[in-house]
């Protein structure tokens, strides 16, 4: 609908500055967002179809590549559904190893998110800090699995690598370091007025809206939705471990930050328990090449929220159907809701705050924006810079905090 008072700004989908192809279309009136149009699909790679033409084992490696960050989430979600159909009882030790890798993955994902969030609001020292600390967990993942991402730890019937007592010690030592660092980030994130002011009241999603739009993960939990697959539909070793589901009722980007920070602390708790309580024994059972006809739905609490895989088998070595629903797709409708009637300057952090992963969603996004009768094309870095300077003009400036934190490093 052409409206002379609106001005459209397309961003993406293909732009060298974007980390992933995505196309948003915002309808703007002045600085206010009147409507959001999201075009998904630029990264759709036909993985579901490809799965039907490959064996279960080949699919496991393909599925692991749905997402670069939560690769273990997808492979575990898939393999659990296959194992359920095949009636395989996985050794307890394998369940604990899957849990351990899953939580290490959450730690690396949440630390990565914290850095990206800092970057989007102009708090780049936080990005430097968190990504430096993230290397601690990346080293652990590489030591345990051989890879920083795409761990290849899962196989149908268990896990492919066992964990040695020395490795367990390294994991526990790393958790002590990360816990100290996370406590500091919680302090910075909840007490520094610049951050609190910048994130509060931005990207609001009420509890009712979160429930109605089927939001998942930290996005939903920060709107007071007490929903976590690890507790509600336990898999791997979660049923035997004690942890809290973190919720917050701020319903904004600040709340999403608090939830992720506190979830890091819960992850350290889970990792310590998984290491200490890990039973001895085999890590795999023999799995048949052909999976009997049946169907199962796997669920998994990925760092970004509930991941869902449906598998239907037909008695052959290849599945009849594999369906993947990654968490970002579930949160896309919520983003539209959060941006409506808000300022253009909020766009970068609001989108970043659902921790979007377009590759695994499709998987992708499109943004349009409208005002007066002229057209202009801007890219994501320009929008980010605009957002930072807009808030600077409102008195929210991270220069001081950036400098202060840098001084700490020098000491």
């Amino acid at each position: 609908m052409p409206d002379k008072n609106k001005f459209k700004i397309p961003i993406g989908p293909q732009h060298p500055a974007l980390k992933e192809p995505e196309g948003f279309s915002l309808a703007l009136k002045g600085e206010k967002i009147m409507g959001v149009d999201i075009r998904l699909g630029y990264n759709h790679r036909g993985i579901e179809k490809a799965c039907e033409e490959r064996t279960y084992i080949q699919d496991l490696y393909l599925i692991e590549r749905v997402c670069g960050i939560c690769s273990h989430s997808h492979s575990t979600c898939f393999v659990q559904a296959v194992e359920e159909i095949a009636g395989l009882d996985i050794p307890k030790r394998a369940r604990y190893i899957r849990t351990l890798i899953g939580e290490l993955e959450r730690v690396h994902s949440h630390l990565l998110w914290l850095g990206v969030a800092g970057h989007e609001i102009g708090f780049d020292t936080l990005l430097m800090y968190t990504w430096r600390d993230r290397e601690v967990v990346m080293d652990i993942l590489a030591a345990l699995t051989g890879n920083r991402v795409n761990y290849g730890i899962n196989t149908i019937g268990g896990v492919r690598r066992d964990i040695t007592p020395d490795q367990c010690k390294d994991v526990l030592a790393a958790m002590d370091i990360l816990e100290e660092r996370t406590k500091y980030y919680i302090e910075v994130g909840t007490q520094e007025t610049t951050i609190v002011k910048r994130l509060s009241g931005v990207g609001v999603l009420s509890k009712e809206a979160a429930l109605k739009l089927d939001a998942v993960g930290p996005t939903a939990r920060a709107s007071g939705v007490d929903y976590d697959v690890r507790r509600d539909d336990p898999y791997a070793a979660y049923g035997e471990l004690s942890f809290d589901v973190i919720t917050d009722d701020h319903c904004d980007v600040y709340g999403r930050t608090v939830v992720r920070l506190k979830e890091l602390m819960e992850s350290y708790k889970i990792i310590r328990q998984a290491v200490k309580n890990m039973p001895d024994g085999p890590v795999t059972v023999r799995a048949p090449r052909k999976i009997p006809a049946g169907e199962a739905l796997g669920r998994y609490e990925a760092p970004r929220g509930e991941d869902v895989h449906f598998v239907k088998s037909n008695g052959t070595e290849k599945p009849e159907r594999v369906k993947v629903r990654a968490p970002t797709l579930a949160n896309v409708q919520a983003v539209k809701h959060m941006l409506k009637d808000r300022f253009l300057a909020d766009m970068p952090i609001v989108v970043a705050a659902i921790d979007p992963c377009f590759s695994c969603t499709d998987r992708a996004i499109s943004l349009r924006h409208t005002d007066k009768n002229k057209k202009e094309i801007i890219d994501w870095p320009t929008l980010r810079t605009y957002g930072i300077s807009w808030y600077k003009s409102q008195g929210i400036d991270f220069a001081g905090l950036n400098k202060q934190l840098l001084e700490r490093i020098k000491q």
Binding site: D37, I38, R39, L40, G41, H44, G46, E48, K49, E84, L211, K212, L213, D214, A215, Y227, V229, D232, D233, P234, E295, A296, L297, R299, E306, V308, F310, K312, E320, R321, K323, R325, L329, A330, V332, Q333, A334, D362, R363, A364, S366
Partner: protein, 149 residues
């Protein structure tokens, strides 16, 4: 305390035609089939009365003569109800569930693009996930569709 059994019982007593069509496959997993004619009524009842307030996703299947759709609904207690409805491939019409679950928009568009479903009542919008120039009579997730060389 809500259990798989009580949900099954509740459904069977409310709808005579569901007897023998509800299977509890394991703790927290219920699979059921419902006729196309009864689907909307059963679906609305489950959401309103059985408190399945979260839609995980919708899976579309090509089953030869029919297209089938499985609606995966989650209960707050962790139970998943998988409701399957089948429609003939030559007339694959289903009603949109977006008035109940606005978040289902992408899932329904996916059924349209990849399997050729016709979703009645879904407002016009962007395609998902295929490109705008993708032929409107090619549905990649149908079993007879093969990628071109």
């Amino acid at each position: 305390m809500v259990s798989e059994g009580s949900i099954k019982q509740g459904l069977e007593s409310e709808f005579e035609h569901l007897k023998g069509k509800i299977v509890v496959t394991r703790p927290r997993r219920i699979f059921m089939e419902v006729d196309r004619a009864h689907f909307v009524k059963v679906f609305e009842y489950i959401v309103a009365k059985q408190e399945f307030a979260h839609l995980c996703t919708i899976t579309g299947l090509d089953e030869g003569e029919n297209l089938s759709f499985i609606y995966h609904l989650a209960h707050t207690g962790g139970i998943i109800l998988n409701i399957k409805v089948s429609v003939p491939k030559n007339n694959p019409v289903i009603k949109t569930i977006t008035p109940i679950f606005p978040g289902a928009e992408c899932y329904e568009r996916e059924l349209i693009d990849l399997l050729g479903a016709k979703v009645e009542g879904l407002p016009a919008g962007n395609r998902y996930p295929l490109t705008d120039d993708w032929p409107t009579d090619e549905f990649p997730l149908r079993k007879d569709w093969k990628p071109k060389e």
